[in-house]
Every structure is written in C-alpha cells, then in structure tokens.
Symmetry: D3
C-alpha cells in the first residue's frame, strides 16, 4: 500500500466568536482572533489517499482527478472566502457555531472530500492535514 | 556598507473594491478578490536597512530594536486585522480608496517604518518587501 | 523507539508511457507527461529508520552511514539519470513497463534500501517518502 | 480524534563526545561533531497533541497555552544554550554522557513536555519531532 | 516605483552537450550533466516588473494578466518539455548549441517575456530569476 | 550580464562578547547571545558572481568550481566550528574582538572569497548574503 499526497493552498478569512458569549468573554478566550472584522491566512491542505498502484498506470489515483476533486469539493468553497460568512458548516447562528479553527477545518474538509474519493475505485482517503501557518497544523484521519 | 534584513509575518484580511465602480465592474477587474466578506493571507514582510556595522557591537542596527520597531509600527496595526476596515490608510470612503494590494501595502509599511528608522543613528531604511503568498511579492525602495 | 529521517535530493528525467497503448491513448491518460522526449524533476527522498538510540553513541543509526547507503543504493542510480532509459526497474519492453510514477519510485527505492538497512544491527527501514514536487509526494512503508 | 501540531525553533550549540573514549576514538566515531569548542544549529521542534476538538471553542488545546508550555519546558532551557554545558540531561560526567543527538533531544523534549500536557484535560502528547537541519530529523512517540 | 514579482514553476529535462566536442571532452567539462538521455529539474521562475501602482486599481500590473503572459510565453514552451529537443532556442545543430544552463534559460525567458510586457502600459520588465534547484539560481536584468 | 548564485550551509557556534565590557554590560547589550558557553545556527550563505555566460559552455562560472571555492575558503573554516574560538578573524583578544554578527560574517566571507574569484577569468564577486536564521540575513556587496 502506498500513501499518495497532493497539496494545495487557499486564502480565506475567519474569526473566532462564540455567539453565546459576550464580547469580553470572546476576547478573553480567543484574543485577537475575536476581531469581528476578521483576519486571514494562506491555508495549505494536504490530502492523502492510500491504495495499491494500478499495475497499468502506476497510479494510486490519477493526480489530475484528485486535483479536480480538491478544487470542486474544497477550494471552490473556501478559497477567497470568509469561512464564517460564506461557508455553511461554519455559519454562526444565535445560539451556536462551529468555530473555524484549524482542527475543525481539517474535519470539515474530510467530510467534503471523503464521499467523492470513496466513490472512486481502488483508493480511500487516509488523512487531511491543514496548515493555518507554517507553525500550526491539524490532521484528521477519519472517525472510529 | 551592509544590507541587513529582518523578516516577520502577519495575518490579515482584505478585499479589492473601488467605491466609484458598481459590483459588476469590481468583479470584472478584481475577480474573486472583490468578495466584500473579505479573504486573507499570511503576509511576510522583509525590512532591509543599510549602514556600516558598528565597530564595537558588530551591528548595523540592533535586531531586537528593529524587531520592536516592526512590531510597533506595522504588526500592531496590521496583524489579525482587516486591512480595509481596521487600517486608516486603506479606508474606503464614498469616492476613493487606496486598495490594499501587495504594492500598496509595501509603500504603506515603508511610510510607517521610515521615520522611526531615520531617527536612529547610523542606518537608513533601504527596502520593504511584502509577500502576499510565496508566489507574489512587491518591493518598495523609497521615492525619488 | 525513535524514528530517524534523512532527506536527500536527486534530479532525474522521466516520461509516462504504456507500450501496449498507442500515442493517442497515452496522451489521453498521461497528458503532457507522455511527451517521449521526457521532462524532469528535482526529487526529494526521505528515508526513515526506527530503533532505539544506542546508549553509547546516541545514534539509532550513524547518519553518515545512512547517507552512504542512500548514495550507493539510490542516488548513484537515479541522480542525473533518465528513469525510463537508465534505470533497470523502469525499463520499457515491448509489452510492459513499470511507469516511474512517484508511487512506483517510492516502492523501488524501498526495495533498493531495505536489504542494506536490514543488514545493519539495531534499526529497520520504516518508510520511504518521495516528493516529485513540493505539491506531490508518495510514501511506502513496506508490504504486509 | 484530531492531531494538532505547533512548531517552534531554538538555536543551540552541542558536541558529540563520549568521556570513556580518547580523542582519536571520538573523532573516528563522531567526525567533525567531536570538536570540543562545539558547533550549533537552528533546531525546529514540532509538538503534536491529539484529542477531540472542544465543541465550544473548537480547540483540541488552546494553542496559546501550548506555546507557553513549549516555551517554559523546552525553549527556556535549550534556546541560546550549549546543550552539553547548560542542560542537565546532557551533562558529561567522567564516566558517561547522554550525547545530544537529534534522537536524544527528541526523547528529552518529550520527557519535559509530557507531564505538563498530561495534566491538562482532554488532550495527550502524541509525538515530538526535532529537526537538526532541514535534512535530518527524529521523532519520538513515547515509550511502550 | 515598486518592484512586483510573480513566481511560477515548470518541470523540464535537459543535458549539457557541445556538438563540437567528443563525448570524453563533454563529460570532462559537464560531468553527469552530459548524459544524453537527459535529466531534469523543477525550475522556479521569478518575473519582476517595475512601475508606479495605478491609483485606481493599486496595481503595477494586473497579476492575472502577468500570470497569463508567463504561461503563454514561457510555461507553454518549457513545462513538461526537453529543453534541448523541444525548445528552439536550445536546439543543437552539428556545429553549435546554446547550452540550457540556468544562465541561458534566464536570458531566453527574458527575451520571450520582454516584448509582451513592453507592449503593456505603465510597467517594464526589471529582472528574470531562474532557480534550477533551491541551491542554484541565475538572474538577468536585460542588456545594456 | 547575468548574476549567478550558489547557496551552501554551515553549522557553527558563536557568542557575542565585547572584552572591554563587564558581564553585566555584555548581557545588557547582547542579551542571551552573551552566554559564554555559546549557542549555534545553521547558517546559509549565498554567493553571487556576475559576468557574461561563456558562449561555448553557457557558464558565467563553472558551478562545480564555485562549490569548491566556497568549500575551501569558507566552509572548511566555518562549518562545525565555534566562530569565536576556531576562526582567526573573530578571535577575542584582551582589548578587542570582531563580533561574529551576521553582518560581520558576510564581510569576512567576502574577504575570503573575493581573491579566489577575482583570480578566475570572466566573472567577479557581486554579493555575499548570509542567513543566520530564515528571519535574519545580511548582504555585503564589497567596499567602495
């Protein structure tokens, strides 16, 4: 079995804000990330699939196809977007929000990618790693 | 003469929007960057000063001092901010705006840094380089 | 147990071509990679061994020795070579070829390295990761 | 479960010297690393913790807290230090020494970090990776 | 005046071969680069233009336009190609060749880019830098 | 004219200490860098030469030759050394020292490289850039 990874980048805004807390509590927990005007990052996403290389093509998956899946499922929705305002899974309601932390972005990207990759023969999604900066990254390998 | 450079990073949001154009024209010129919810980047700034190393310390400037100047003059104002909404030089009025392109950010950072560095003895600001992504950067070396 | 990794680079040419297909089919599947004049990459290889650090030297393996193994077994054969034309395991016959995809290079490098490392005491080969570009890499951890 | 990683750097000196060997034997085994005046590196350390993101904050751990733990437990002791002379776990006695190889630094950093992280709720230390240079790194995932 | 740079990559093969020398002389001068099967690199090209930012758009040039120029003029011709066999300016005749060294690639790329950029208003080509590897690069700033 | 650059790395220790000051003054000016046990870095050096590419070889200079010059003149003296204790130009006497700051290392490396490169036909040393870390670098372009 081989683990094959493709990396891509997207540029997005976000903020950290829990709607059940007041401004003071949000700033205490989230610091400068609680600025409601938002701030942003060049995110890097690494998508790893695993499988046997096809004996005819030498491919675990066709990397052009994988690029297309990543663009359709993740980059189209996240790149040049405000994650809290433009992306449904991070929308803030009056009483709750899934905060777009690096951890939650990795899980959300997995959920977007997994069905499309599972539908392809011969490979399965192994991990999704998201870098918020070169110093901070989160990796999700699927649920139990 | 030696050219001494210090690099730092900041994370910020921005959008490209000219207030005298309608939405269609803004999107035609600026593409996805015209999304008014904003998007963001991990910017890198490289500040270069030039001068003779002090024979006693071996310093063109004290790099701890330069770090402090960069933090006070630029990072405090730009990091974890929305450049259009939180930073005065990029504010949008009804009739005009200085768009926070990489070019304009390099010029604006120069204007913030130059007086503080000119006030120090023995060195002068030589250039300010700003990376929006690893693929795109702008460098300003002062006016004529 | 500690996992110790050494990284090296090699520059090589390759093309993707299945000899049982005609040119049209090869181009359809492999795109620009099917150009028979070849194209090339700066490959990066990361070789990871695992074991207990020797209490006398603090080494899982001597990294100078590991560098020598990587040079003898992989770089001598792959660096400044055309993988399809100069490297036996990727030779194209009339009826078959192991296409030098990143996946297959990772497996081939493992097969070259594993016997030499297994012959050394106290460590075993844990994984071989090959980067074709910074955006694409494959990792092989041995067969079951 | 999500694996969350924070990266930091420190600059330190070290040498490789086994006190029960003479100079000739030390140089034979350790080469230029046996220079008793020492040499140095910009080390990078990656600390990975694992756990479920908190549903309220989206955090596996608060990254500001993790930064503080890394600074208190590791950087304060190792940064701008001579590992053999300034750090107790690498002290050379007449008859023994734990050589500050990359492998042993990864283990030592684990031992410094693990109690502080174990004392926090909801996450556990998963791995510590130390880069001596971009070409050489060691990863420790804890004992059995 | 601001210097604005855009970076791109291409993967290509080449060899170093002077047709007026025999194989022995070619190998003596060019070493492993003289292998006629070719070898390859992931090249990085940085194209720098200079000018005043347009007061309306904040652009020295439109970076989408610059990307298009780089793709049309350079990447279309060089990417996934064999520079000696597929690119006219590096063709080998019986008596001469422009060897595709990093130096000559920088000059050739300048010649391809300069007319298209000169035809645009408000900016001029300032430099072309080509990286063969992260360790080797050449920069051309135009003739006198 | 083309500017051709080769990059190399060396690992060295140093400290900042002015022998005419007491310990308190040294610590006040130099902070943690004044630790007399030393600390260290992975330095990167970029050596740029300029000239016309030779019409026969396509070389401004032979990069294998330049690598040899850099190894003989700089790396042999600086790599795996303590700059203050092992390198003559940074020796501390009772009354003076050239502190091995990044600025002074760039100048010292220039003085080591310039005569060897000037003795070669067709190229001249254009600049020496030294990175102490990825965040700090100094460039020297020769005296007036």
């Amino acid at each position: 079995m081989v683990f094959l990874t493709r990396r891509a980048t997207f540029s997005a805004s976000h903020y950290y804000w829990n709607p059940v807390w007041n401004a003071e509590k949000n700033e205490q927990v989230f610091g400068r990330c609680s600025n409601r005007n938002g701030h942003g990052h060049n995110y890097t996403i690494e998508v790893t699939v695993s499988g046997e290389p096809d004996p005819v093509t030498g491919f675990v998956v066709d990397l052009k196809w994988l690029k297309g899946v990543m663009e359709c499922e993740v980059l189209e929705a996240y790149d040049h977007r405000h994650l809290n305002l433009d992306v449904p899974e991070f929308a803030t309601t009056e009483s709750s929000a899934t905060i777009p932390t690096t951890e939650n972005i990795a899980i959300a990207a997995w959920k977007r990618l997994e069905p499309a990759i599972a539908a392809a023969q011969g490979a399965r999604l192994s991990s999704v790693r998201v870098y918020e900066t070169p110093e901070i990254f989160a990796e999700y390998r699927g649920g139990a």
